[in-house]
Every structure is written in structure tokens, then in C-alpha cells.
Symmetry: C2
Amino acid sequence: MRKLTKEEYIETIHVLQKENGRAKTGHIAEHMGVRPPSVTQMLAKLQGEGLVEYEPYLGARLTPAGAKIARELMARHRVIANFLVILGIDREAAEKDACAMEHHMTGESAVRLKKFVEFIQTAPRDPQWVGKFLKYCETGERECGEK
Amino acid sequence: MRKLTKEEYIETIHVLQKENGRAKTGHIAEHMGVRPPSVTQMLAKLQGEGLVEYEPYLGARLTPAGAKIARELMARHRVIANFLVILGIDREAAEKDACAMEHHMTGESAVRLKKFVEFIQTAPRDPQWVGKFLKYCETGERECGEK
DNA sequence: CCTAATCGTTAGGTATGCCTAAATAATATA
DNA sequence: TATATTATTTAGGCATACCTAACGATTAGG
């Protein structure tokens, strides 16, 4: 797999913490496809930055600062994944692709995409153009009566 | 700036090559915000992978394999930037954000986004919902007559 | 309780991409 | 042509994120 970032560790810890109360080294490693020593090392680093609290042999928990970052990331993830689903990508692939993208989408673009997804999802009715778009993808043809 | 990838070097070389015939170390460095030695080093690496041909003190040119990658990247970049512009981001910011995203958007998602942009740009008329969306961004309100 | 298996950490090493400082090649100028 | 300026490369280091191998702690079974 590609090189993981601190943010991705934070996200994983966030998830495991909700399941088990504490995120243990081995679980994090398994979840992220790296070896335990890499996790130990990263936990030390994150602790140094005040993002996790880490008790050797016991596991890690996010500090409030770490939890804040996790929440922001997950929100971004949700937006991107939902967008991809709207475009017709299946849920599973969308989640995976969102993982790869979420750490590189920032600032104005992220805000706009969020609004866009919101705009579509809260539409009075499922907007017609979405259906037309999906049809266009399959057939390459626009619907006849399209205005 | 964040850490640059081989792909970004290839893109830069592609651009400079079109301007000057050869991409010189100093120009590449300036363009990418790194120091010349970093460029020399990367050129050696890219040459080793058969992506550029590099004559010390003269400059670099992409091999056919390198040029192919460059074209694909630029196409992806164009799609992403155009999409962001549709969402109402100004051109300059869109180009910048696209740079950050283009290397992490792959596979099915890239294909779908391309189709989506195409779908909008080739619409018989500028689709109405785009205007409605931009208005929604500004005011938070949907247009009255929206169906 | 004590040993065995498991889980985690420490130690040491690889790869990548960046840097500065110093040496060398190319180019422009006197 | 000789020298000064500029451009590029070489040499040596730093930081990050990963790894394997070896050691130490924890937990479970006998």
C-alpha cells in the first residue's frame, strides 16, 4: 500500500476506540496493513504532538485535539464517498477511493464539494439530472426530451 | 510545499519541454519550488526508470513512456480543475487544488468524474441546476420554483 | 505458580525526497 | 584569451515511514 500519513493513523484509532475503548498496537497494524513496530513508532510521534495518549502495552486513545482532527477527517471522507456514490460508483469502491482522496482535498474545494453533495441529497425530489447522467454513462446518449 | 512525486516532475518537464525543447535543471527547480540538487537527483532516478532522457548540463526530455504518463496526468488535472470551476471555485484556486488531488484520484472515480464533467460541459444548454446550486451556495436558499 | 504462547517494544537498517556546501562545467565579459 | 559569473553536479546529511530480528512484557493453560 501507499505511504500512510499521521491523519490516517488518527482515523484508525478513532474507529478502534469506538469499538474497544482503546486502540491497541496490533489492531491498528492489522487495520492499516503495516507491521506493529511502525505503529509503536507512530504512536510515540503522535503522542509527542499531543494528539494521542498512549500507554505502552495498553493502547492508545485520542486526546481532544486528536478527536477533533478525526471528526473533521471523517466528515470529509463522508462527503467524498457520498459524492462518488452519486456519480454511480458502488459504495465499497467509493469508500476506498475516498480514503485515498480525503487527505489531499482541502480548503475551498472541500467546502464546495460538501455543499454540492448537500444540495443534491436534500433536493425536494431526487434531481432528474442525476438519472440522466447515469444513463449517459451507460449508453453515451442523452435522453431525448432533455432540455 | 508538500513532498513532490515523480509524477509531478514528469508533468513539469512536459510543460517546460513544450516551451523550450528541453527542460533544464534550474527551470524545473524554480517551477517546483525545490533546489537544483533535488532535481538532478530525481532526473537520474527517472532516467533509470526509462521515463526521461537526460544529458548532464543540457537538460531533460521525456521518453515516449514518460510522455504518455504526462498526457494522462494532464488529462486528469483538466478534469478535476474543470469540475471545481463548475462548483464555483475560481480558476486559479481550482488549478492549484487540482494539482494536489490529481495524483490521488484513480481508477473508476477518475473515469466517472471525467464523464460527469463531460456531461455538464456538453449539455445542450448550461444546465439550470448549476445556477441553482451556485445560488444555494450563496444564500442557502433554494429557488422557489424548483421542482 | 510457572511455563508457553502471544503481543509489544527496541534496535538497527532501507528507501525516498529534500537540503546545504563545495567542486566543477559552461557561458559571458573584459 | 583569461577571468568572472552563472548553472549544474557531487558529497554528505536530515526527516519520515516503513521493515526485520531480537528482546521484554502480558496473558493463558497446565
